[in-house]
Amino acid sequence: MRNKLLALTACLLASTASYAADPGVSDTEIKIGDVNIMTGPASFIGRAVAVGSKIAAAEINEAGGVNGRKITIVTEDDGYIPARSFQALTKLIEVDEIFALNGTSGTANVLAMMPLIEENNLPTVVTTAPNELVYDPVRPSVFTIGGSYSDAFYGQLKYIHENLEPENPVYGLIRQDDDFGGAIEHGYERAIEEFGVKDGLRVRFKKGTANFAAEVAQMKQAGVNVLANGGIIAGAANILGEARKLSMDMQVASVWSEDMPPSVNLSAPAGYDYLVADYVALNGPDYDRFMEKARKYASEEEVAAINRYTLVTYVGLSALAEAMKQCGQELTRDCTIEKLRGLKNFDTQGVAAPISFDNEQQLSGTALAIYQLNAADKSFKRLTDFTDY
């Protein structure tokens, strides 16, 4: 009898050991955290991210959850301020006891959370900041989804060079004076060198600049007719608006933020059918299927908030859930990280290129599709398949 009791106790201890070691998992639930920009001017990004997590979680839960456990999303707002990201993640870890993290604000915000992520061995899928600083050096528990700005600009300029073939091309670059702008310039430089085209002018501007009259006038002076527009949202729209005032006839390559409805609404009046390279689908049957799901699982207001960040966060949580599923009932952070690391060609149902983290940087979704805006009806036409540059 005594031996039986001891064996039973040992079994009980063994079965609860993993839960005791790794918070956020119970017999019925897995808590996934999400630190996001829910307030402030960039809150439309955070809202879109939250909707992506919600749709993925609802879909997974309806299909029976992760080995019977339902996913619960706990969102914290950081207002796009790194110090608050740190605070928010501390709360998610200490108070809400999350198991993993998906969807992680901007680059500086992710970096501010990085010591906590590493210290807690927190499986993390970075979906909104695919910056080199996030995946180089690689952190064991951090997995990134998204292409690089460098590739995005190189890909667009390559498309312009090979397919649109402007006469007497003079290339110009306008970019922010930070790491993001540096990545864009890297892709621009690669294109200039490879295609042997004329490098007309490169201009830097400070983050938050609102008036680009002088910069664009310089572009006009230099005869630029292929512009790598490194401005984002209002900045990009201002650059195009100034170019239109000066009647500049040009092909434009843009940052992927310019395919979001708020950006398009600001930029389209300038009348440029600009290009965008993105690692998620912006239209087509796969996108339509995703929107059907969105209408099923999200409210009308949430569906209205959907943009590219919704899709990439949906992909992130789906990949994370797949890794957790592969761990079976003994779900631990170590196992999830191991399975994420082994993830190969995970099918995103066409929302993005298949996800594989089995590379040194634990980076996936780097393949980009090129789209072109129709400024008249504010729609995008897909020009290429997902391609690695």
Binding site: P82, A83, T90, E94, A108, N109, A112, L133, K206, E301
Partner: protein, 348 residues
């Protein structure tokens, strides 16, 4: 019932407090602060650390703006200088934290002379704009001096150990911050009742009259800038230890506005007010969050869609309402409560 205080010597007039009751409550408060990490969870301790850093920064700004009357919107810049100095010295030059942290304050104080000198002839909004411009300049320098500051990449800060104790984690960081806060508050209280403090107040009340009385405006204004920036630089260093990462985005200009809001809400010119203001604004979002989690219908679509906006608006409304109803700030409220308590049951 208390009948009032009668002072017989100058020493009694400048004493921090002649009331044993006050000292008793101060001791009680300190004991509670020391015991806090053993009673609270890690998240609450993290919040306390952030609040204490805000107290240090607010006390620093209060010396410049509240006591001397020089409005500054450059606090984010001084915080960045302190944080970057600490991070660079620790990570790139291998300095121990007990040297790099005060060095952060020192560098901020030295740089403040550069801001202080052109600001000597400026007052009010003109000075505010000059200090704001300084924050912009610091921002640019950090971005462009890449070999020194690592530019936009930022710096991870780790290895702040003293006698084998990691000062960047849990209780150790809390006690480091608490100790620094106590030192800063004590120093500020002592400076304020010294010749320097009285000179600053004279400058604030009427700088021409102060000069006529023999106060050297150049010297005392620069001193105010230096002392304030030293304290704010220390706060910046502590931020770098807590977050363990510095990047220019961590020191957004909104921090300067928030610092100003803290000392106005607390009560301009009062150190206790700066402390109360910093604690109030640090914990207000958390209180609002708890309030909504307790009383709002979290399952409603309206709540889930707009919870963050609602919280943000509530935060703003509380501040506006407070300033409208109590323009002297939290310290004014505290004085009213104290007066009511002293005079009870008589009305006043």
């Amino acid at each position: 019932m208390r009948t009032g205080h009668f002072k017989e010597a100058t020493g009694q007039l400048v004493a921090l407090s002649d009331s044993r009751v006050v000292w008793f409550f101060v001791a009680l408060l300190l004991a509670a602060c020391v015991a806090a990490p053993f009673l609270l969870g890690n998240y609450q301790v993290t919040l306390m650390v952030s609040a204490l850093i805000a107290v240090i920064g607010a006390v620093g700004l209060n010396m410049l703006t509240g006591t001397t009357g020089l409005i500054s919107l450059g606090q984010a810049g001084f915080l960045a200088v302190g944080a970057y100095t600490n991070a660079i010295l620790m990570m790139d030059y291998g300095w121990p934290v007990w040297l790099s942290l005060p060095a952060g304050g020192l560098v901020a104080a030295l740089i403040s002379i550069l801001v202080g000198v052109p600001s000597l002839r400026l007052k009010g909004l003109y000075l505010a704009i000059t200090t704001l411009a300084f924050a912009f300049i610091i921002n640019h320098i950090i971005l462009y001096a890449e070999p020194l500051t690592h530019g936009p990449n930022g710096i991870f800060v780790s290895g702040a150990k003293v006698l084998g104790v990691d000062l960047q984690r849990g209780k150790a960081l809390y006690y480091l911050t608490l100790g620094t806060t106590v030192l800063v508050v004590l120093a500020a209280l002592n400076i304020q009742r010294s010749r320097v403090g009285r000179a600053w107040m004279a400058i604030r009340d009427h700088d021409i009259a102060a000069r006529v009385m023999g106060v050297d405006l150049v010297r005392y204004k620069l001193l105010a800038f230096m002392v304030s920036s030293f304290i704010v630089g220390i706060a910046g260093g502590l931020i770098s230890l807590q977050i363990r990462f510095v990047n220019i985005d961590v020191f957004a200009l909104i921090l300067s506005i928030e610092a100003l809001a803290i000392i106005i809400l607390g009560g301009l010119g009062s150190i206790a007010g700066a402390v109360l203001g910093a604690l109030f604004l640090s914990f207000l979002p958390e209180v609002i969050r708890l309030f909504f989690e307790t009383f709002a219908d979290s399952s409603s679509n309206f709540y889930t869609s707009y919870v963050y906006e609602i919280r943000g608006i509530a935060y703003g409304v509380v501040i506006v309402a407070f300033l409208r109803l109590k323009p002297e700030g939290l310290i004014g409220l505290w004085r009213d409560i104290r007066k009511y308590w002293s005079n009870w049951p008589l009305a006043y």
